[in-house]
C-alpha cells in the first residue's frame, strides 16, 4: 500500500469514490472485462487470499486463491474473453452489491474498504460469494485508478466450488 496522506476532506471524496466503485462493480457484472482491466495501474495487483488469512497475508509465503500482478490479471481477462474458458461458458449471470464503504486518506490516494455480496447464476444454480474488499486507489486526472484490489472471502468453505468469475 502506498501512503495515504491527507490532502483534503475525506467526506468530500465520498461521492466520487463511491461512484467509481459502483462503476467498477457494474463493469464486472456486465462482463465488460477489457474496460474493467483498463481501470488498473500498470503495477496493479488483484488478490484473493485463501479463507482465514489475516489482513497482512502475503502471496509470496502463503497460498492464495488469486494473486495476480498486472500480467497475470491481463491473462485472466484474455482467458475469460476466450470461448474455451469452459467454466464461464455460457457466461454466468452475475450481480454484486458493494456496501459499508469506508474511505481513508485523501488527496491523490485513498484506501476504500467495502463489504460485498455477489450472486452468480449458472446451470440453474445460484452461488453466493461474500466478504470484504480493500481498494488502494490513486487519482488519475479527473478519475481514479486501482493500484490494488484485495478481496477477502469471509467463507470458511468455498461452496461455489470455484472462483471462475472475477470478484
Amino acid at each position: 500500500m502506498g501512503s495515504a496522506r491527507g490532502g483534503g476532506d475525506v467526506s468530500a471524496l465520498r461521492p466520487e469514490i463511491e461512484d467509481f466503485l459502483y462503476a467498477e462493480a457494474n463493469l464486472l457484472d456486465e462482463w465488460r472485462l477489457d474496460e474493467w482491466f483498463a481501470l488498473f495501474t500498470d503495477d496493479a495487483t488483484y488478490e484473493i487470499p485463501t479463507a482465514g488469512m489475516p489482513d497482512g497475508a502475503s502471496a509470496a509465503v502463503s497460498l492464495f486463491y488469486v494473486a495476480d500482478d498486472h500480467t497475470r490479471l491481463r491473462e485472466r481477462v484474455v482467458r475469460l474473453n476466450d470461448a474455451d474458458a469452459h467454466a464461464e461458458q455460457p457466461r454466468s449471470l452475475v450481480r454484486r452489491i458493494y456496501g459499508n464503504v469506508r474511505i481513508e486518506g485523501g488527496g491523490d490516494r485513498v484506501i476504500a474498504r467495502c463489504t460485498f455480496i455477489a450472486k452468480r447464476a449458472k446451470n440453474r444454480r445460484v452461488d453466493d460469494f461474500f466478504g470484504h474488499i480493500v481498494f488502494d486507489l490513486v487519482r488519475a486526472g479527473s478519475s481514479w485508478r486501482i493500484a490494488t484490489k484485495r478481496v477477502y472471502l469471509d467463507m470458511d468453505l468455498l461452496h461455489p466450488g470455484k472462483i471462475s468469475i472475477i470478484l
Binding site: A51, G52, M53, A59, V61, L63, A87, G161
Partner: protein
C-alpha cells in the same frame, strides 16, 4: 466380465471397459462406499509439518468423521475422533492450534493431549467405573501410520499394514519427499471447496492425461504467453506413461512441458533464477544418479492413492483429498507442499504455479470443476445412456500412455472389488 458390484464391465478380449453411471448417482452406492471403502482403506489425515511442535493440532473431516490430528506433549502423534465421550460435542473447534489438552465447552470434561481423561470431579458425581478402563478417554482411530511424513489412519483395526497398502506408491512418495534436503512442508493457505459431483469423478480427473489439451487449452496458451513453457525432445518423443501401481493406486508420468520450481527452469522464472535452479537439478543428479535425479527434476507425476489421496508433483506439488457428502456432492481440501528452507523466490514461483493451475481461482481447475459437474448433470440420462467408456489404450502394445485410461481402470477394478464384496 461384469464385476461383483454389477457396475464395472471389464472385457480385455473385446478391449472394452465400461462403468455404470449408477456408480455416480445412486444413494445406495454412496452408503455402500462408506462401509466398503472409507471404513477399511487407509485414509490420508495430514502431514508431519502441520503439527511440528508438541501440542500442535489440526481438526479436519476424514472418511465422514471429525478428526483431531495432533502431537501430544511427549511428541507422539494421534488421530482422535473429535467427540466428547460424555454427550458427543466436538472438543476441539478451531481449524488448528496449540494446546496442552482439550476441554469440552459443553460440560467441561477435559482431556490430556494424549487423549486421557483429565477431569477430577467431586465424590458422588461418578462411580469408580466411570474412571476405570479408559472409557472416558478420547477415542482414537483404530490405526494410525506414517510414511515419509504423510500420515494415514484406518478405522479398521484388522486392515493390513499401511506399508503393504501403499505398496509401490512409496517409491513415488520418495520422489516427492527427497526433493527437500531438510524435508518437505505444507505451506499455509488451504483451499476447501465443494464440487457438485460424485467424488470418483475427481479421482479419475486427477490422473487423466487425456483431457488436458482440450479442457485446459486456455491454461496452456497462458503458459505460452508468459514463457512458462519449454518443450524439449523428451516430451516430443512421447515417452509418457499411465501406470497401475497396484491396490487401486495409479499414476501418469510424463516429461514436464512447464517449469518445476524444484529443479526445472523456464524463461518466466527469470534469468536471475536460472543458475540457482540448474544447480539444484545438478545436485539432485549428483545425489540420486542421472536417471532418478532427472526424473525428480524434469518429470511430472499425477498419482492417486486409493481411494482419495492425490499427490500431483507437477508445476507445483498438490496434496488433495476429497470426500463424498452425498452421491452428487464432494468436499475437496487442497494443500501446497514445498521444500523446507526453499529460496523465497522459488517458494513464490511454486505458489504462483499452484494457484495458476491447481487452485479454485486459477486458469485450469475451474474448468475441471465445470467438467465434473457437467458429467454429473449428464448422468441424469442414465436410464437411456447408462455407461461410461474407459477403454482408451486397451489394444495398445507395450506400456500405456499418459493419455490412455489404464490408470482409471486400475482405480475402478479396486473399487469394484471392494464395493462388490459388500453383502
Amino acid at each position: 466380465m461384469i464385476g461383483l458390484s454389477g457396475m464395472v464391465r471389464d472385457d480385455p478380449a473385446g478391449n472394452l471397459f465400461r462403468v455404470g453411471r449408477r456408480a455416480f448417482t445412486d444413494p445406495e452406492v454412496h452408503t455402500r462406499e462408506r462401509d466398503a471403502i472409507f471404513d477399511h482403506c487407509w485414509l490420508y489425515v495430514g502431514h508431519s509439518s502441520e503439527i511440528g511442535a508438541k501440542g500442535d493440532y489440526v481438526t479436519r473431516s476424514v472418511g465422514g468423521r471429525e478428526i483431531i490430528f495432533n502431537r501430544d506433549r511427549e511428541g507422539k502423534v494421534h488421530a482422535f475422533l473429535n467427540t466428547c465421550p460424555h454427550r458427543g460435542a466436538t472438543v476441539a473447534r478451531e481449524p488448528q492450534g496449540n494446546a496442552p489438552g482439550f476441554r469440552c465447552f459443553y460440560h467441561g470434561w477435559s482431556f490430556h493431549s494424549d487423549g486421557r481423561f483429565a477431569s477430577k470431579f467431586p465424590e458422588g458425581n461418578y462411580g469408580e467405573a466411570h474412571y476405570a478402563g479408559g472409557c472416558a478417554n478420547l477415542v482414537q482411530a483404530a490405526q494410525l501410520g506414517e510414511y515419509r511424513d504423510f500420515w494415514f489412519l484406518n478405522f479398521d483395526a484388522g486392515a493390513p499394514s499401511l506399508e503393504s497398502y501403499l505398496g509401490d506408491t512409496r517409491e513415488i512418495l520418495d520422489l516427492v519427499a527427497d526433493q527437500g534436503d531438510e524435508g518437505m512442508e505444507i505451506v499455509s493457505g488451504n483451499p476447501n471447496y465443494v464440487i457438485h459431483a460424485n467424488w470418483k469423478l475427481l479421482a479419475e480427473n486427477s490422473i487423466d492425461g487425456y483431457h488436458a489439451h482440450l479442457t485446459h487449452k486456455t491454461y496452456i496458451e497462458y503458459l505460452g504467453n508468459v514463457g512458462n513453457m519449454r518443450i524439449d525432445e523428451t516430451f516430443a518423443a512421447g515417452l509418457t506413461k499411465g501406470i497401475d501401481l497396484g491396490n487401486g493406486h495409479a499414476m501418469v508420468e510424463y516429461p514436464a512441458p512447464w517449469g518445476r520450481p524444484v529443479a526445472r527452469w523456464v524463461p518466466s522464472f527469470g534469468e536471475d533464477k536460472k543458475a540457482m535452479v540448474e544447480a539444484r537439478a545438478a545436485q539432485l543428479i549428483a545425489r540420486y544418479g542421472e536417471a532418478r535425479g532427472t526424473r525428480m527434476a524434469e518429470w511430472n507425476r499425477n498419482m492417486l492413492i486409493f481411494p482419495n489421496l492425490v499427490v500431483n508433483d507437477i508445476m507445483a506439488i498438490t496434496v488433495r483429498t476429497f470426500y463424498p457428502v452425498a452421491a452428487d456432492e464432494m468436499h475437496v481440501s487442497g494443500w501446497a507442499l514445498g521444500v523446507v528452507g526453499e529460496d523465497p523466490a522459488l517458494r513464490q514461483l511454486r505458489l504462483f504455479n499452484f494457484l495458476e493451475f491447481l487452485g479454485p481461482g486459477g486458469f485450469a481447475t475451474p474448468d475441471d470443476v465445470e467438467a465434473l459437474e457437467s458429467c454429473q448433470r449428464g448422468y441424469r440420462n442414465q436410464r437411456e445412456a447408462g455407461w461410461n467408456d474407459i477403454s482408451k489404450g486397451m489394444p495398445r502394445e507395450g506400456h500405456s500412455r499418459h493419455d490412455d485410461e489404464a490408470q482409471m481402470r486400475a482405480f475402478w477394478r479396486e473399487w469394484d472389488r471392494r464395493v462388490g464384496a459388500v453383502t
